[in-house]
Amino acid sequence: MTALKAFISAAIAGLLGLDAVQAGQFLLSRPALVGPLLGWLNGCPAEGAKIGILLELIYIDFIPVGGVVPPNGTAAAAAGVLAHSAAGLAPSLSFFIGMLAGAAYSPVEYRLRAARSGWNAAVEAEAAAGTLRLSRWFARSMLIEDAAMTAYVLAWTLLCAALALVPRLYALYPATDFAYSLMPWIGLSGLYFRFMTQAKKKK
């Protein structure tokens, strides 16, 4: 049952992840929503919400301008929630694992984007031949992104399940609990000073 839920959660993360770049950009992929949503599905909505919003606050520092690939909030929230709900790790450790998973997704996304550069020549050839159907290329692009995110989240869940088997892992929890308790202040500080600086600007 847990494995099935983990798989469904990863698939949902894959779909929501498309919203970040590929389709819509309604912010449905943000960890603030992915956290409580997957937490609800896995029986821990409050922990999911906490992990999600704290990742949101930390990740809000990164802005996707000029083709920069920021850490992926969907991967972070999904991996974090599943590390707690499916692998049984403490929420505090799950949060830090989620943060790492989100940051480590950037190179994956970079490679996916770079791989699509090669499509231009084929698309131009189709356009010249009068057989261009861009919707097919888009479907392909989104399927690959969806599958990559789903597989990535599942891989992290498996990794966390293996980590849970490490003896005396609980010895880490006082440290991660303490560090976790300070994360809201790091995040709030970032938000507050960002807007304060913006409000002070004359132009």
Binding site: A32, W40, A46, F95, R113, L134, F138, A179, Y192, K201
Partner: protein
């Protein structure tokens, strides 16, 4: 091209003759095949396709038109509609004027100039202000509903699923309403004045909007800071021991100080988080000290 010829190009087509609704719906997929070689070119061409297919019933002309829009383009995704509207109008005008290539000569330059200008505006409005504001809205909704688990993640506090989802959804609803509105209005404005390099740049009072959003964001974050420190002070005072109270207030302040220091040093927030985590592991796991805590 002479100024008169350009004017002729710009007034040739009647307004409202392009399938803008289809372009609008397709513009939501403008980044579907984003790539490092030409950025949003495939999405841009896809969004413009309904206009081009209507304008060029002749297969060869349509092929040329589609190829024309497979060139490099990159802008902020919500602001792309301004550029799309403008380009749709240039193409429409060119066909209506019957001058073919003459009216399209300015197209690449206009497209590039507008894409850069609108990207700069869009980045400041959406990524720089509205997106962080959605997190603030979420936290304020949770605070209004009495959920403070986000501030004290170690504390077990039950909350209804409806409230937990209402927070992020409220922020998303506000953000999406703004982005969809800008997308639609941008397309209409771009199409309305298409052809010039400053087309639709004055369709909104951008500086005023940016200033208003900055002020709103600051007020919201100020409210949140009051809520956060108010509840923290309440909890600290409840402990009745001055040393405990000082610790409970001092730890968050130290974390904020560290974040500010790292920001001043132009380092990533990950470094600040990493230092806190590494120091915690050293103190409480390796050296075995009893954890001090806000509420552990």
């Amino acid at each position: 091209m002479t100024e008169e010829a350009q004017k002729e190009c710009m007034k040739a087509a009647p307004a409202g003759s392009a399938p803008l609704r289809a372009v609008f719906l397709r513009s939501f997929f403008i980044q579907a095949a984003w790539n490092y070689e030409r950025y949003q070119n495939l999405g841009f061409c896809f969004a413009l396709e309904p206009v081009l297919r209507r304008l060029y019933p002749d297969q060869a002309a349509c092929r040329d038109a589609l190829s024309r829009h497979l060139q490099i383009v990159n802008t902020q995704p919500y602001m792309a509609s301004f550029v799309l509207g403008n380009v749709a109008r240039i193409e429409t005008n060119a066909v209506a004027a019957g001058s073919g290539g003459a009216c399209l000569k300015s197209l690449p330059g206009v497209k590039q100039a507008l894409a850069s200008s609108f990207a700069a505006i869009g980045d400041r409005i959406f990524w720089g202000r509205l997106k962080p504001m959605t997190a603030l809205v979420c936290l304020l909704v949770w605070a209004a509903g009495g959920f403070y688990g986000w501030l004290y993640p170690g504390m077990a506090q039950p909350a209804s699923v409806a409230l937990l989802l209402a927070g992020p959804l409220a922020g998303i609803a506000l953000y999406s309403a703004a982005s969809v509105c800008v997308r639609w209005k941008g397309l209409a404005a771009g199409y309305g004045c298409g052809g010039s390099t400053n087309c639709a740049l004055d369709s909104f009072n951008w500086p005023r909007l940016i200033k208003a959003l900055s002020a709103a964001g600051f007020l919201m974050s100020l409210a949140l800071a009051f809520i956060a420190f108010g509840t923290l002070a309440g909890m600290a005072c409840a402990s009745c021991r001055p040393a405990d109270a000082a610790l409970k207030l001092g730890l968050p302040l130290a974390a904020i100080g560290l974040q500010r220091l790292w920001r001043a040093l132009d380092r990533s927030v990950f470094s600040a988080v990493g230092i806190i985590l590494a120091a915690s592991v050293l103190l409480f796991t390796v050296l075995g000290f009893k954890p001090l805590g806000l509420y552990l």
